[in-house]
Structures are given as structure tokens and as C-alpha cells.
Subunit: 335 residues, 2 copies
DNA sequence: CCACAGCAGCGAACCGGTTCGCTGATCAAC
DNA sequence: GTTGATCAGCGAACCGGTTCGCTGCTGTGG
């Protein structure tokens, strides 16, 4: 309700002085500042975001661009959105949700309407088309995900390669010489999903180093299909008895498939996985695992974006958050 | 980049004429309009959201206030956020996420900073404190949830009472005379959660009408605790063999508990439940059930809010979205 | 005692739109 | 031919902040 003019009148000073107090950009004597503060409190004044945005050409808002993703695990999404919003608030920013199926269009509109100061892109893929309008307008942005080529944009992600290596090491250390590698659907790798590919190639590489034979199995889409596929994998006597999983649906469904076949962990099968932290919050997942770190990743992303906004020309940054492996006894030690 | 002044110059008209074309509020001859449209296209102009907000005192943004506890325990949340954002965009609004632990403070700040035109409150409880600043500032809002007293604010929610009645009917129709009612933790009811209480009292009432004896069991918090509690319930020979569930954690965990005890559905137990639609998308939930309708609920909420913003003094509305029961053969017909 | 530096606060201009009263042109009626 | 109504478009004022050059006062040094 109250405007800066009301505050000025109440405090007996000029509008510009009030502004100086509010922004802190100019020295104001303690006495005047006290008068202004009192007036602000009395009138319950707070700055009009739109007016300030117009004057400063800073909206203090970040656009969070959610990719279009039917197939992916959306329960995890909420954790990221909340973590992003919390981190943004801490830096004085608010978060605008951009969920348009056509992410490029969403970005374009937000830019030309000057709705945000920068973007955080979720579900990044290699050669992400959303980068085009962003780079063209020279807008600040941070990728949540680590494509091969970040095209001059800051990026942060979980270190899926490190996670994969940890899990492979864990199996190898326990004496395993071979393992089934339960992967995401093939399409995800083909579509250039950054994390899936980084995990897979790191797992392959480390497994080779450690002399662990990997039998890769791409799983289908859809809960029932996954369950059936898991059963098939578990039933095949040719398959190794250790399982390395990077597929949230499979992690969630595995207990059912084990149940179907009367198998026990770790007696009959050894299991390690990397999955969304959210999964473990709802289910008993007693698998030794590496969990995603939504809070750490999001906090880093927002900090990087805030810095990028402040200094657009500082060198491009890439940050990988190293996760922790939590042993839960789902791996049998073999001779 | 381009401002309305650039467009005016390019088109050879005044700024106000460009504005008339953009807003459509005033008649402009087809020829001038064509010139303006051409200039807009050529300069890739689109209005500066902040400037328009300042001039019109309409931000065209909606604040979505996410409750605190929700953050910890709702895989369904993402579905609601996306559905809200999609619906908002359809009405020309954008969505600002307000996730502050202290929801009241978040609302207060958004109001005094004029950041949004109205609010959508998630995870509403009876006597919700967030309504105080909203009502005091006479701000438009819509509740996603249906408290006893909506305090003059529009509200929309799934018709949990109807859902409960459907499920009770389904059991009674199949000849059951008694059922265990697996409920949320007691605290949820005590904290004034609107949907939990509406479901519970409707179930109780309908069960009485249909001569179905209900044995209520409030479940604990935490996956392992839930699993153990479920086992205890299933093991007790005194308990009825039919299960009426309103507790997402229990729905997700029940297959594990059944597995623990070697029980089959529907041979050993009949199961019906009401749960988040998200749950069924990820897991094999072959329980006869009523699912939440995030898209329908969110669309209605945004439409109601848009109307409320347009006409603040129209009569208060309450809408309940009636869900569908989907039979999946998890109920045994008894004599 | 005067000159000048330093400093707190003022005021005007500006950010990019919208709104509304007014102008000048066109045209019909008398 | 003059009057009056109609209408497209113009221009100034305004929304609520920020910014920056300027003013007038205080105080120090010569």
C-alpha cells in the first residue's frame, strides 16, 4: 500500500533519501536513517517489486525451466524445485516456474518479457535447444546437468561418474568378478541425457580397470514392464548374481521382482545402486547405494547463477558434487 | 531489448497508439495496427513485465504457497506444481514458487512487495494461518483443500468424502461386513488436515449406513515403521480380512508387508484405497482404488483464482472434484 | 576572516509501459 | 457553407521506485 513517497513524507525527508536508506548504496546519517526506518515500520512499507525491477532492470527472479519428461521420475522433481526455491530466497531471489512443454518458447518469452534475471535449466540434454535463446540474448544461466559441451554456460551436477566408480569398487572389493548393469531405457541414452551417459561410461571404464565383467541390460518403460524385465534378468541362470542399478524405477520395483521369485538379498543377489534421494524417503531401500544430493546441487546452482548475474564475464564454471556411498549390507562378500 | 518507444518510431505512430494495439483496449484502424504489428515483429518486441505491472498494478503472476511438511513427504507435489503452472500459463499467468518454511511470512512478503496478483495455497489445514495476511490485505486466493471454514476464500479439492463412500460401498457390495481402516498418522488429523478428516468421517458414516464394521488403525511415520505396523495388522487374527486404506505410505508399503507374511490379494486379503495418482504411475498398484486428480483440481483452482482476481466481490465458491473408482480385482466377493 | 573541501540530503530525470483528455480531420445534416 | 458529431491518434501525466548531479551547510586550514 504505502509508497516510497508516503515514507518520505512520514519521515520528513525526500524520496531519494528513503531510497538511499533502502538500498544502502549511499551514506545516510544515523539520525535520518532512524527516522526513515521508523516510518517504514509504521507504514509497513516494502518496495514494489515491479517498480524496482523497472528502475534497476533487475527482477530478482530466477526462471526454473522444467524439461518435458513423461518418463522420468517426477517425485524427485519436487525435491529439486523446493531446494532451488529455498536457495534462491536465501540469495534474495524468487523463483518463477517455467514448465512449458516447449522449453525454448518458455525461455524466449521470459527473456523478452524481462521476467527473470537468469535461468536454471533442469533435465539438461546434450545440445540442449534451450541454450540457443539464452546464449543469443547473453542471459545468465546455470545447467543442472553436465552435457559434453556446456556452450559457455555454467553447469553443476552430481558426479555420476564418481558415483558409478564407487559402486563398481564396492562390488569389486567384495570379490565380485561380474555384475548385471541395469540401465535406463535405451532412449534416454540416445536422447543425450547427460547423467545417464556419464554414469554408464564411468561404470564401464572402472569395471574394466577392476576386472569386473558388466552385463548391461536396458530396462523398458512402465512399472509392469520393468517388473517383468527384472524377473527375466533374475531368472536367467547365465546372469551374474550381482546387480549394479542406475534406474530409479528398477530400484523401486526390484523388491517386488525378488519377491516374485523368492530371492533374498544379499544371500541370493548382491545389489548396489545410485538413485534419487527421494526414493529412500518413501520406501525401505536397504540397498547399498549412492544417493543424489538435491539440496547441495541446487544450492550450488543458485549460488553460481547469482554470481554469474553479478559478473557476467567471469570465467565459466563447472562443478560436480561428489556423493557419498552408504553401505547397507546388500552385498555379499565372495571368495 | 526493444521498448514501446522503438516500436512507435519504427511504425511512425505514437507510444500510446502502440499501447492501444498491444492491449487491445482501444480501437485502432486496421492500417495502423498492421504497421504496429510489423514493427513489433521486426524488432522482436514484447512488453516488459515489470513496467506493465507497474502501470497496471497487475503482475500477472500467481503465488503458489507450498506448506512446509509437504516438502518432506509428498512425491505427488511435483504433479501439482506442474499442473498449476501449466494451467496458469493458459490463463496468461506465471507462477511464483513460495516455499518458505514460514508460509505466513512468505505470503506477507509477496503481498507487500506486490509480487503476485493472488495466491494458491497448498496443503491447507483448518484455521490456516496463511489466510490472515491474505484476508487482511483483501488479496484474492484459492485453497487447494477444503477446511471446515474457508473464511470467505474460494476453495477446491478432491471430493474425499465421495471417494471414501465409493470405497466403502465397493467393499460392502462385495459382501464384506468388516474392514480395517488404515489411516494416516494421528497427528495429521489433529493438525487439522482437511482431506484426512473428511475422508475419515465420510468413511465412518457410510460404513455405518452400510453395516460395515470399521477397525481404525493409525499408522506411524517412516517407511520401516509403516512396514512393521502393517505386518502387525495383517498378523492379528482378530482383524478383518478387508483393508480400506487412506495413507500413501501404506499403499506403497503394503506389497512388502504382504510379501513378508506370504499373503496374496485378493485370496487372503481384500484391499481398496484412495491415493495419489503419482503412486500408480510408478508402481504396480493393482489395488482397486480412487485416485487423486491433480490436473483437474489444479485447473479448477487456477480458473477460480483468475475469476476472483477479475471480480473480487463475486460470491465465494467451493468446488469438489468427484473422483472415479477403478476396479482392479483386489476385492474378493464373500457370501 | 575567507576560501575551500567534504558531506548530507534534495530534486529532477528516467526506467517502460498505460490511461485519458484532447486535437484535428472527416463527414453528415441543416 | 457552417455546425456538430464521430473518430483515429497524440501527448502528457502517472505508476513507484533509483540514480546522479547539484546545493547549501559545516568545519578546517591558511
Amino acid at each position: 500500500m504505502a509508497t516510497i513517497g508516503d515514507v518520505a513524507r512520514e519521515a520528513g525527508v525526500s524520496r531519494s533519501t528513503v531510497s538511499s536508506v533502502l538500498t544502502g548504496r549511499k551514506y545516510v546519517s544515523p539520525e535520518t536513517r532512524a527516522k526513515v526506518d521508523a516510518a517504514v515500520a509504521k507504514l509497513q512499507f516494502s518496495v514494489n517489486a515491479g517498480a524496482r525491477a523497472l528502475a534497476t532492470s533487475r527482477t530478482m527472479a530466477l526462471g526454473v525451466v522444467v524439461g518435458f519428461h513423461e518418463a522420468e521420475f517426477s517425485p524427485a522433481l519436487a525435491a529439486y524445485l523446493i531446494a532451488l526455491s529455498d536457495a534462491a530466497r536465501e540469495q534474495g531471489y524468487s523463483v518463477v516456474l517455467l514448465t512449458e512443454p516447449d522449453g525454448v518458447e518458455a525461455v524466449r518469452r521470459a527473456i523478452s518479457g524481462r521476467q527473470v534475471d537468469g535461468f536454471i535449466l533442469l533435465n539438461v540434454v546434450d545440445d540442449d535447444p534451450r541454450l540457443e535463446p539464452i546464449n543469443q540474448a547473453r542471459y545468465p544461466a546455470v545447467l543442472l546437468g553436465m552435457p559434453q559441451d556446456t556452450r559457455g554456460v555454467d553447469a553443476v551436477d552430481l558426479d555420476f561418474a564418481a558415483g558409478a566408480a564407487m559402486l563398481v569398487d564396492h562390488l569389486a572389493d567384495a570379490g565380485h568378478r561380474e555384475a548385471v548393469f541395469l540401465k535406463w531405457p535405451e532412449e534416454l541414452y540416445d536422447s543425450g541425457s547427460t547423467y545417464a551417459n556419464r554414469f554408464a561410461s564411468s561404470a564401464r571404464e572402472r569395471a574394466e580397470q577392476r576386472g569386473l565383467r558388466l552385463v548391461p541390460v536396458a530396462l523398458p518403460v512402465g512399472p509392469e514392464q520393468v517388473r517383468a524385465a527384472l524377473r527375466a534378468v533374475l531368472q536367467d541362470p547365465e546372469n551374474p548374481r550381482a546387480l549394479l542399478i542406475h534406474n530409479d524405477a528398477a530400484v523401486a520395483m526390484l523388491p517386488f521382482a525378488l519377491y516374485d521369485l523368492g530371492l533374498e538379498v544379499p544371500a541370493d543377489r548382491s545389489v548396489v545402486s545410485l538413485h534419487a534421494a527421494e526414493l529412500a524417503r518413501l520406501y525401505v531401500l536397504s540397498f547399498t547405494s549412492v544417493e543424489s544430493e538435491p539440496v547441495a546441487v541446487c544450492q550450488t546452482a543458485v549460488e553460481m547463477l547469482a554470481k554469474r548475474i553479478a559478473s557476467p564475464d567471469s570465467p565459466v564454471q563447472k562443478r560436480l558434487i561428489v556423493p557419498r556411498l552408504e553401505a547397507k549390507g546388500s552385498v555379499e562378500t565372495v571368495a
